[in-house]
Symmetry: C2
Subunit: 406 residues, 2 copies
C-alpha cells in the first residue's frame, strides 16, 4: 500500500551535526524491501557507555532479549538495526540469528559480543536469515561516516511516512556536547505490528548508571506518554549511547542541563512518532491536572488517548466532550463528577457536573478543524498532572491495518 | 445516519412468554426521537425483589446513582426507562429530574420512591426534562399489559440495529418459572457514548440477597466478557427483578438450575450486544486457557479483544496471529513465549515460540471469510481460563462514531 507523507510531518527538519565517536553506515540488503536501505550499522568509540528502555511486553523479540542482557555491562561499541523482519516469535532460530549477528559484528569491529546492540522491526514469526546482514558487515564497516544521520534515520524506517530526527546542544563547563536522536514508528508492515525504535547518541561523558537514570527519566514523560492505538510492540526499544569523546557531565547543574536537552530530544522524537501514527490527520494533546497523583493523571490521560470513541470524534471534528467524561470515568482513577472541568482548544466546555452555560459549539469549531487539538481536563481531586499525546482514528487506520485482501 | 440491521442479528427471535407479576407499556414522548417509542414502564407486583450490577465508571449518570441507592432495600415495584437522553453529566438538574420522575412514578403506582428503578440512555450533558415522562405516566399505567415484551425491547433501543430479547424456563419442584431478558447496546447516538442496558424479569421467588449473588455470578462471564471498543459507559445497568409470583428457588439443586438458566439468558443477551457492535461484520470469540489464573485469562482475552490491530486484521480477513502474540505480551500477565499456542478456527498457527511448521495460511482462509471467528490461545503457564467476545473494527465504526460533519 502506498503511503503519502503524514500531513503532520515536521516542515523544518534539522541537519544533524557530527558526534565525536559515532560513525554510521546504511546498506540495502533486500531482507524484505527492494530498492531501499534496510540495515544500519553504528560504530561507537571505545569507552562508550549505554542505557536502554525496552518493551514491557511479556513476549519480547530475540533482539530485545539480547539488549536486556547486554545492558547489564553498560558498554557499547556497535549498534546493528534491520528493517523488514522483527525476529520476534521466531523461537530458537531467532536466538541463533541474534547470536550469529553479534558474533560477526564483534569480529568485524573488534569488540566483545556484549558490546554489540541489536534491534529488528518488520514482519514477525518469520525466521530472520542472518546471512544478508553478516555479508554486508565489511562494506558497512568501511563506509561508515560521521555525517550519515539522515541516511541512518531512513534505513530504520518500515512504513513510516517520514524519517524522524532530533538534535540538541548542551554547554558543559565551557564546552558544548551534542545529543542526536533518530526514531522509527509507528508505521506498520502488514501482517505485523507497529514498533517504536529510538537511538540516541551523545559525545558527553557519563557513566552507564547515571546515564540509565537520565534515560529512564526522559522516557517517562515522552515515549511513555504517546499512544497511537494502545498496542505494545514486542520490539519497542530506546537506546542511549554516550561516547565520552566530549565534555563530562559532572556537577548537579550540568546533569540538569543535560537532562533538559535529553528530555527535549526525546519529546521531539516522541511527538514525531505520534504525528506519524497510522492514518493520523490530527495530533491530540491531552493535559490532565488536579488528579490524585501524577500516576493517576497519566492513567486518565492515556485512557482518553486510547479511547476509540474520543479518537473517532476528533477525526470527525466533533468536540464530543461527553466521550472525554466517559473516558475519565472509565480510567478507574479517583474523579469527582461535579468538580471535573474540561477545556477544548482553551474553551471551557464542561464544569460543575454539566455543560458550561457559556459554551457554544460554534466557538470551538475553528479549533476542531485544525491539525493540533488540545484537550485539558482538571479532575478536581488533587495536584497530580500529566500530558500525553495521540492522533485521531481515521478511515486510513483501517485501510492500513485491515489490509483488505478480498 | 441510517443503520442497516447488523449482518450478525439473530435469525430466530423467540416470542417472550408472559411472566406473572410483570406488565409493560411503551410510549412515544418525543424526548429526542420522532415517530418511535422512547419510554418504557414496567410494573412489578408487590413483593418483587431486585438485584443489580451498575457501571464501574467514576462519573456515573444520575439514574445509576439512583439505582445504586435503591438497590440497598432490594425491593422494586416499577422500572422506568427512557431513550434519547442519558441524564449523565447533568449536575444538580439531573438529580432533580431523577427525583421528580421517582416521585411521580411512586404516586402513580402507589409505592415508595426507593421501589422505583430508573435508567436513561442517549445524549449526555443535556438536561433531561422530566415533564414528557411524568405526563406519560397515567397512560402508561393504564395501558400496561403482560405481553408487550417485543415493544418493550424496542422502546429502549437507541441506535441498536435490532431489538434484543432472550428467554429461558426452569423447573423448580414440579413447577416451571420463566426468565425473560431485554437489552440495548451498543448503539450510539452522536454526540454520545455507547451504553448497555439489560433488564431481566422472573416470576421465581428469591430474596434480594441470593438474587444479587446469582446476578453477579451471571454477569461476570457474560456482560463482563464482551467489549466493542473498550469504552465504559456512564450508564451501564443490569437489573434483575423477581416477582415471586411463581415457584420459590429453595434447594441447592434448584439454585443451580436457576443459575444455569439465568447464565444462559445473560450470555445470549451479551452476545447479541456484541453482534450489534457498531459496524460489526464478524463476531470474534476468544478462548484463553493455560493462564496463571482465571482473572489473568480474562485480562489476556480482553487485551486481545480490545486490540485495534487484532480487530482491524479480522475485518480484513487476515489471520494475523502476530498481533495476537503482541496482545498476549501487552496484557502484562504471565506468559511464556515458547509455550504459547495459538489456534484460529481450530487450526494450530503458532507454537513453541514460532509459527507452526504445518500451518498454511490457505487452510485458514475459509474460516476468516466467515461471520464467526474463533481464536484460542493457550498461555502454557497454569490452569486459568476465560472466554470473551468482541466484534471486528470496520470502516463503518469510524462512520458511525466520527459523524463527519464537514
Amino acid at each position: 500500500m502506498a503511503h503519502v507523507v503524514s500531513p503532520l510531518a515536521p516542515v523544518n527538519v534539522p541537519a544533524l551535526p557530527e558526534i565525536a565517536g559515532v560513525t554510521l553506515a546504511p546498506a540495502a540488503t533486500g531482507i524484505r524491501y527492494k530498492n531501499r536501505t534496510d540495515v544500519l550499522l553504528a560504530l561507537l568509540s571505545a569507552g562508550t557507555t549505554v542505557a536502554g528502555c525496552l518493551t514491557r511486553s511479556k513476549s519480547p523479540s530475540a533482539p530485545v532479549d539480547w539488549c536486556a542482557a547486554s545492558l547489564k555491562q553498560g558498554k557499547a561499541r556497535a549498534l546493528i538495526v534491520n528493517a523488514g523482519n522483527a525476529n520476534a516469535f521466531t523461537g530458537k532460530a531467532g536466538v541463533a540469528t541474534v547470536k550469529a549477528v553479534a558474533k560477526a559484528v564483534a569480529a568485524e569491529v573488534g569488540c566483545t559480543q556484549a558490546e554489540v546492540f541489536q534491534a529488528s522491526t518488520g514482519v514477525i514469526g518469520e525466521p530472520l536469515n542472518p546471512a544478508p546482514i553478516v555479508n554486508a558487515l565489511p562494506g558497512l564497516h568501511q563506509s561508515a561516516t560521521a555525517d550519515a544521520w539522515s541516511m541512518a534515520a531512513q534505513a530504520i524506517m518500515t512504513t513510516d511516512t517520514f524519517a524522524k530526527v532530533a538534535t540538541a546542544k548542551v554547554k558543559l563547563g565551557g564546552k558544548t556536547v551534542t545529543i542526536n536522536g533518530i526514531a522509527k514508528g509507528s508505521g506498520m508492515i502488514a501482517p505485523d505490528m507497529a514498533t517504536m525504535l529510538v537511538f540516541i547518541f551523545t559525545d558527553a561523558k557519563i557513566a552507564a548508571k547515571p546515564l540509565q537514570k537520565l534515560l529512564t527519566a526522559a522516557v517517562n514523560p515522552s515515549f511513555n506518554c504517546i499512544t497511537v492505538d494502545g498496542d505494545t510492540s514486542t520490539s519497542d526499544t530506546v537506546l542511549l549511547f554516550a561516547t565520552g569523546q566530549g565534555a563530562a557531565v559532572k556537577s548537579p547543574a550540568e546533569t540538569k542541563a543535560f537532562a533538559k536537552a535529553l528530555d527535549a530530544v526525546c519529546l521531539d522524537l516522541a511527538l514525531q512518532v505520534a504525528k506519524d501514527g497510522e492514518g493520523a490527520e490530527k495530533l491530540i494533546e491531552i493535559k490532565i491536572t488536579g488528579a490524585e497523583s501524577d500516576k493517576a493523571a497519566h492513567k486518565i490521560g492515556m485512557t482518553i488517548a486510547n479511547s476509540p470513541l474520543v479518537k473517532t470524534a476528533i477525526a470527525g471534528e466533533d468536540a464530543n466532550w461527553g466521550r472525554i467524561v466517559m473516558a475519565v470515568g472509565k480510567s478507574g482513577e479517583k474523579a469527582i463528577r461535579d468538580k471535573l472541568k474540561i477545556r477544548i482548544g482553551g474553551i471551557l466546555v464542561a464544569a460543575k457536573g454539566m455543560k458550561d452555560q457559556n459554551y457554544k459549539e460554534a466557538d470551538i469549531m475553528p479549533h476542531m478543524k485544525g491539525r493540533d487539538i488540545k484537550i485539558e481536563a482538571d479532575i478536581g481531586v488533587g495536584k497530580g498532572k500529566a500530558t500525553v499525546w495521540t492522533c485521531d482514528l481515521t478511515h486510513r487506520y483501517i485501510d492500513i491495518n485491515g489490509s483488505y485482501r478480498s
